[in-house]
């Protein structure tokens, strides 16, 4: 008979335990989970990238709803357990659900520590623990005001970096003299502080918070030395403590955490505890690797393996702030019986320190350059005697044994039991073994089978190198999807070769790159045509026969073979004369449908192809040009009425929208490009789901990009904040040009951004002024050839053949 297993808590540790249990003893238990959070199991380690905007919540889900259904697990979301009755063997939730258990697992995690200063309960004081906290912070960040993060440890710094990336003015208060003093020695702490400050985050060390004050909400933070820091948001990230309340109330042994033996069993033999709430051998844990170890042990025990036991091991610490490389492991306090080896390169921002005892590594701090972390970890774990290589030890593995090894050889040289993935405790041989045994050829496969690089992802490079070492060419890291059946080359490769080989026509591309068909197909030809238009604006003759019909005839084909026409209305602004002209055209050509579009334009639908040039001629008389509603190119810039009319408007959003549209119309892009400018954060132009959007604020213009509101729904990423309209235009143009040059044909900007990385785009457009300028100039150059109104060209007779039948035959008069 199946036993009833009830789990309190649905974090990463019980999630992992269930995976092991389903593998070891499928069908043995009927599983019910109560989760106080109203959601599924997600990767908490990745909350910082969510806060900084580098990832979306959907990307960090570990078990989606389908997983629970598939494994027949009942998940109560948003149910907090209020009582455990150990005699009746039941638990009860705050919603009144009572569930009997045979075995109970408590995995209630931890609660953030709140410093009990006056004002700690004011609205605007948050902690940093779960997705609700992150969402609250992101909401608060929209005001772009000032934030104070109390705590300069791992969590505090990640929160500060995230809030900074969200556009807030952030100050970190840390009570100790240097940051992350539990993981870093003072020298590395200093380098870290400098790197944090370079990002525009203020750091105050030895800061003793006295009070948080404000009238009904947070307004300032006061320090013991009298310093007052204005703030509308305070994040407390000073530490966590095990959440053992419910266990204590049930009479279980609780010390710092719920006391369990090495088999994760509490003093009630039917109740287990694991994760951050558990205390084993007098220690509580907060990093994922030991928690996953607990999960493995608990699953084995539940599956009937009484010998499974938890073994303590030191876990390396890494900071997940993009651009800051930091690694810390073990014990690095000074001591008479210890020696140290230190390497400093201040200008390169590199600091490495090894702490040795009896010729063995007992602690490591790496800053700025952390590639050797895995190797040092391995030496420490195995207690390797390093006296032989002491002279070169600090330079890392590549310098051992003569000539420097290349990175690939360094990975090859790692012993089989070297730990590759710290989060999931996966060693080298487990990965290579799985690749061979299961014939894995993609990174996703390896993640699925071994869990390596599936949590924080920082070992992805190592895992990829292992794949190459194990299966050679069969692993293609880029996993290149060919453009189409006509070639084996992917889009990126083709784009690179077009530039490198100076290929300037479609036949030249097909000849040189050995196309396998005579003249391509409907997939590759439009792509090649775009790449050539983009890369050689002055030297390539646009091949209309390689464009989709819409772009060939500058109108949108409809299901019945008629067309729709959308004239450009700059920024969505029109007037009586334009509307009158449209009305006249509609009457004259008996256009059956007129509709206002989502992009603030007027669409005339149901026009016969033969009538198109005449329709355009009439529209042209009124000053209209093509609205490019059919183009993989700049479509519309939607605006609100801005400071001219709106009582909330902070800038001339209409004017900026018109200016952007007049500057950028006619440009071709990999996929359609829709923009919007909102005059204040109320965002009436809906700029935060556009390909590119601007939110005007008092102090300037916040540029957004990579939103989506179609097949996918995704809010934008913030590119950055600029002060003037000129700067806004320059940044948007440069961003668009970067996308034009790198995007794959039909790849919307949000997909491109995901592939390239938001941080990299910010670096090139926001931080690198020179790069931005060259992108901008290339766009401007290309516009010289692109800004020709296609409608007036066709009114003047271009491509006449497109709009007329070749002949009419067989009719009575024709037959005569």
């Amino acid at each position: 008979m199946t036993e009833k297993l009830v789990i309190i808590g649905n974090g990463m540790a019980p999630g992992r335990m269930l995976e092991h249990l389903l593998e070891k003893a499928p069908g043995r238990y009927q599983v019910t989970i109560f989760n106080a959070e109203p959601r599924v199991n997600y990767d908490r380690i990745m909350l910082s990238p969510v806060l900084s905007g580098e990832k979306a919540y959907e990307e960090i889900i570990i078990h989606g709803d389908g997983w629970y259904i598939k494994h027949d697990i009942t998940l109560y979301k948003g149910h907090k357990i209020i009582a455990i009755d150990r005699t009746a063997k039941t638990i009860t939730s705050d919603h009144g659900v009572t569930e009997p258990y045979d075995k109970l697992v408590i995995a209630t995690g931890s609660v953030p520590f709140i410093i009990p200063v006056p004002g700690h309960n004011l609205p605007g004081v948050l902690t940093y623990r779960d997705l609700d906290d992150v969402q609250a912070m992101m909401l608060a960040a929209q005001s772009r005001a000032k934030a104070v993060v109390i705590g300069g440890g791992l969590l505090g710094l990640e929160a500060a970096a995230g809030l900074n990336a969200q556009g807030m003015d952030v100050t970190v208060l840390h009570v100790m003299p240097t940051l992350m003093e539990r993981q870093l020695d003072p020298a590395a702490g200093y380098l870290l502080q400098r790197a944090v400050e370079e990002r525009g985050i203020k750091v105050i060390t030895k800061a003793n918070t006295q009070a948080i004050t404000g009238n009904g909400k947070v307004e300032r933070v006061e320090l013991a030395d009298g310093t007052v820091i204005p703030a509308t948001l305070v994040v407390m990230a000073v530490g966590i403590r095990p959440n053992a309340t419910i266990a204590k109330e049930a009479g279980l042994a609780v010390n710092r955490g719920i006391v369990v033996d090495a088999g994760m069993r509490s003093n009630d033999p039917d109740i287990y505890a694991l994760g951050e709430c558990a205390e084993v051998n007098g220690q509580v844990y907060g990093l994922v690797a030991p928690l996953y170890e607990m999960a493995r042990v608990a699953a084995s025990q539940l599956a009937g393996d009484a010998a499974a036991a938890f073994v303590h091991s030191d876990t390396p610490t890494k900071l997940k702030v993009t651009g800051i490389e930091l690694f810390s492991l073990g014990d690095f306090a000074d001591g008479d019986d210890r020696q140290e080896i230190v390497l400093r390169d201040a200008s390169a921002g590199v600091y490495k320190r090894l702490v040795l005892k009896d010729d063995r590594i007992i602690g490591t701090v790496l800053y700025g350059e952390t590639a050797d972390g895995a190797w040092f970890n391995d030496l420490k774990k195995k207690q390797t005697d390093i006296s032989e290589m002491r002279d070169t030890l600090i330079f890392g593995q590549s310098y051992q044994g003569g000539a420097p090894l290349d990175p690939m050889a360094a990975v090859a040289a790692l012993p089989d039991d070297a730990e590759i993935c710290g989060c999931n405790g996966v060693c080298k041989s487990k990965i290579t073994g799985a690749i061979m045994a299961k014939g894995l050829t993609s990174l996703d496969d390896v993640r699925a089978h071994t869990k390596a690089s599936a949590s924080c992802g920082s070992c992805t490079g190592l895992v990829e190198k292992l794949m190459v070492l194990t299966i050679g060419d069969k692993y293609n890291p880029a996993a290149v999807q060919p453009m189409c059946g006509c070639t084996t080359l992917g889009h990126d490769e083709v784009r690179r070769l077009i530039k490198a080989k100076h290929l300037k026509t479609i036949p030249a591309v097909m000849q040189e790159l050995e196309w396998q068909t005579s003249c391509g197909c409907a997939k590759c030809r439009p792509a090649l045509n775009y790449y050539l238009v983009c890369d050689w604006p002055d030297g390539y003759a646009d091949d209309y026969q390689s464009r989709f019909i819409n772009e060939r005839v500058h109108a949108n084909i409809q299901k019945d073979g008629t067309y729709s026409v959308v004239p450009r209305m700059w920024g969505g602004v029109t007037n009586a004369a334009e509307l009158r002209a449209i009305a006249d055209v509609v009457d004259k050509f008996e256009i059956p449908m007129v509709k206002v579009t989502g992009g603030q334009r007027i669409d005339m639908l149901g026009i016969r192809k033969e009538d198109l040039p005449a329709v355009w001629a009439d529209l042209g008389q009124a000053g209209f040009v093509s609205g490019h509603a059919y183009a993989k190119g700049l479509r519309t810039v939607k605006t609100c009425v801005g400071s001219d009319w709106c009582r909330f408007g902070t800038q001339d959003s209409t004017g900026l929208g018109i200016r952007i549209e007049k500057f950028m119309w006619g440009s071709w892009t990999p996929a359609k490009l829709k923009m919007a400018v909102s005059g204040c954060p109320r965002n009436c132009a809906e700029a935060t789901c556009k390909d590119v959007g601007v939110i005007c604020v008092d102090s300037g213009y916040e540029i957004h990009f990579a939103g989506a509101a179609g097949l996918d729904i995704k809010s934008t990423e913030v590119l950055g904040m600029v002060r003037t309209e000129d700067e806004a235009l320059q940044h948007i143009v440069a961003l668009t040009q970067m996308y034009r040059e790198q995007g794959r044909y039909l790849e919307r900007i949000y997909k491109w951004a995901k592939r390239i990385g938001i941080a990299e785009i910010k670096r090139q457009i926001m931080d690198d002024g020179e790069k931005r300028q060259t992108y901008y100039e290339r766009f401007v150059f290309s516009q010289k050839f692109a800004q020709v109104d296609p409608w007036s060209e066709r009114v003047s007779g271009k491509d006449k053949h497109e709009f007329r039948p070749m002949a009419s035959v067989g009719f009575a008069q024709a037959a005569e």
Binding site: T517, S518, C519, G520, C521, A522, R525, P526, Y544, Q545, S546, R547, F548, I549, N550, R552, V553, I557, K559, G561, H801, P805, M806, A807, S808, V809, G810, F811
Partner: protein, 112 residues
Amino acid sequence: MDEFNWIAIGSITDIPRRGARCVNTPEGKIAVFRTAEDQVFAMDDHCPHKGGPLSQGIVHGAAVTCPLHNWVISLETGKALGADEGAVRTIPVRVEGVHLFIALEALASRAA
């Protein structure tokens, strides 16, 4: 002798390479295609899938991709290529120098 009644529709130069033009007939629109190698094909301008105008598609090799839902139709047989199934009526074409002629069944029978 030809059993068809050939009807002149114009010159091959009226059609762009890798393109198509339409001919209006009492039987509906006929699409006339010209490939990169100057082969000429004609068929009903009506995709077997949802009736899309094939003449508006992209011509590649001896095939055209329908502009509505990307079915690929063989210009030689009128049959859908790949996984799709369906066929469109092809029309005989004759090329004499640059002059193009098509033959229509109904027209042929009427002339007979």
